[in-house]
């Protein structure tokens, strides 16, 4: 691997040799060793090494044969939610990593991990060093239910629960108590179904995935037998998609526990639905009809028309023992269908509550505009509002919805807009920009050491090695210090 990189490095220098004299001037000022020059090529900085960052980089490299693209990532490891979000039993989704790896290894692309943008380096500093900066830092927070009892023990956000089973370093200590028989998940998106499936899947199936060993051990001792996935609106508004519902239906030894009353009037509405919604609804109705078998040891079910109002505490006042739900009726139609409380309440007994009502982006730096209501960087087609040379893509641009393909398309769009702006002179390419030269020097003075892509590949190799002995594709490292030690070894 090292050799490959070296060869590409040399090829790069041969290609650019005619520009060396100009490049040299800019480089000597920076005191660096890279041979790439910005004499005529745009230097673009991408903040965040998830799908949005990699797809934006891919399109920029393709559209501008002279562009140099550097990706800065907070963690020592790349790929964002493909590594820390996508469920361990969906390895095929993670095939996109092969394309991302090719982008990272592209001769005009560099990956700098272990750089917390906004803290280690400011956006202003990046904007000074690059012709353009693209924000692709995703959505690392979660929406809060804003109900009493949300902080009780036994209540988790799906973001943290997913981070725990997927080995996100900041969630490694989560250690959820799975001694309760019933778990309630609030929200009915695909993340909710990922969590439900992980809670109900046989451990024998999970142990061959890249789920972390410590979460596997906790799941092996789980008493959870019943998982209810609660939504505020009705079956026709459900946010998850059919593949994920089919996976629930197909779970071994697990039946469906649904309320037929939730589906009143749905059969009549079917014929007017577009095909995707129609098939999804039909599948749910089939599950309602089939119900559960006496042989089924476990069950899952949707509960509709219910909004969380309070987490009920047990005698100790600290532990959740149930959730109080407000019953709703629907008002409006189509996309605008709203849940309105009827005034009736219902209590559900459960010792594990997972709130899966969506992720949320944070502001990265006080100089960058942020829309607190929508929790995104305000933008027009990826151009950040009122800030020349600043762009955004992915969840921080659109909000925290959409599959990888959605993120891909919107990242391609942002890259195209950026290239158009370069061609139209909106982004000034007439001045030389030092790019990574300046930034890595700055980081050095601040005691921040980066993890380059070949160094990530050492972590990758170590994880694959540890996984192999366990019969898994990889065993993720959970500790940032350990990652760094291996990367720099």
């Amino acid at each position: 691997m090292k050799r490959m990189t070296m060869i590409n490095f040399m090829k790069g220098s041969v290609m650019k040799i005619h520009r060396l004299s100009r490049a040299y001037r800019c480089l000597s000022a920076e005191g660096g060793v890279r041979v790439f020059s910005s004499a005529s090529g745009p230097r673009v900085c991408v903040v965040g090494g998830g799908p949005a960052g990699f797809y934006t980089a891919q399109q920029l490299l393709k559209a501008r044969q002279d562009a140099i693209v550097d990706i800065y990532e907070r963690l020592p490891v790349p790929f964002g939610l493909v590594r820390f979000g996508v469920a361990p039993d969906h390895p095929e989704v993670k095939n996109v990593i092969n394309t991302f790896t090719q982008t990272a290894q592209h001769e005009r692309c560099s990956f700098y991990g272990n750089v917390n943008v906004g803290k280690d380096v400011t956006i202003e500093e990046l904007r000074r060093a690059y012709h353009a900066v693209v924000l692709s830092y995703g959505a690392e927070g979660n929406r809060s239910m804003k109900i009493p009892g949300e902080d009780l023990s036994g209540v988790f956000s799906a973001k943290d629960f997913v981070g725990w089973y997927n080995g996100l370093p900041s969630n490694k200590e989560l250690c959820p108590d799975l001694s309760s028989e019933t778990a309630v998940i609030l929200g009915q998106g695909n993340v909710a179904l990922d969590v439900a499936r992980i809670l109900l899947s046989p451990v024998d199936m999970l142990k061959e995935t890249d789920i972390t060993q410590n979460s596997l051990a906790v799941l092996a001792g789980s008493n959870v037998r019943r998982v209810l996935v609660v939504g505020r609106r009705g079956p026709l508004q459900i946010a998850c998609t059919i593949k994920e519902v089919r996976e629930m239906v197909n779970l071994p030894n697990t039946g469906a526990d649904m309320l037929p009353s939730d589906f009143e009037g749905i059969a009549e509405a079917l014929k007017d639905l577009p095909r995707p919604r129609k098939r999804l609804t039909e599948l749910m109705m089939k599950a309602v009809k089939e119900g559960r078998d006496d042989k089924d040891q476990k069950c899952w079910g949707f509960r509709f028309f219910r909004s969380p109002v309070e987490v009920i505490a047990g005698a100790d006042g600290r532990t959740a023992t149930g959730i109080r739900l407000a019953l709703n009726k629907l008002e409006g139609s189509g996309e605008g269908t709203r849940a309105v409380p009827t005034g009736q309440l219902e209590d559900l007994e459960c010792g594990l509550i997972i709130s899966s009502i969506g992720y949320k982006s944070f502001p990265i730096d006080p100089t960058v505009p942020f829309d607190p209501r929508r929790a995104i960087v305000p933008n027009a087609m990826g151009r950040v509002q009122d800030t020349t040379g600043l762009y955004c893509s992915g969840w921080v641009k659109r909000g925290p919805t959409g599959v990888i393909a959605t993120t891909m398309n919107d990242s391609f769009d942002t890259a195209r807009v950026l290239v158009q702006d370069m061609e139209a002179g909106e982004v000034d390419l007439s001045v030389n920009k030092p790019g990574a030269q300046a930034i890595t020097a700055l980081l050095r003075t601040r005691g921040v050491r980066t993890v380059l892509f070949p160094q990530w590949e050492k972590i990758n190799a170590e994880e694959e090695k540890r996984g192999k002995s366990l019969g898994k594709p990889r065993e993720k490292l959970l500790d940032v210090d350990e990652m760094l030690k291996i990367a720099w070894s």
Binding site: Q59, Q65, N95, V96, E107, I242, P276, R279, I404
Partner: protein, 168 residues
Amino acid sequence: MASRMCVQVLARSSLALVCHPGSTRPHLRFLHTAPKLCSQSQQNGSSDSKVLVHFVNQSGVKSSVFVTEGESLLDVVIKKNLDISGFGACEGTLACSTCHLIFEESVYDKLEPIVDEETDMLDLAYGLTKTSRLGCQVTVEHWMDGMTVRVPHEINDQRGKQEAVSSK
């Protein structure tokens, strides 16, 4: 290199099929599920490469290629390095719908029946039509000779809007 075999029918732009001219490393994608990237027989144009398939990409650019029977349309796009942005993100494992293609009705009607799992993914695709299928699930057969498959125009429409803005 792979595109040497392709008959280029350039409807709108002569840039089709050129693979990263400034790049010293061809930006080929690896198909880990079918790791026979650009086999020799392909490049030498062996006689079993004889089914002609026309692809129209997002930008309306048509490329025509001779294909070996038994390959999936995803294999073809990768092997011939056709310029279709983001095609086949999950590498043919029915987990993404980025390999969405639109068929002519007469061809669509004769395709192998679709399974639920393919429809599940297809239902999430952009610009779904009545004759849509996922390219990774359709295998090229002799009778398809001369067919045209299209990538939906969504992204192109979006770009059109942006071009209109920037040309002001």
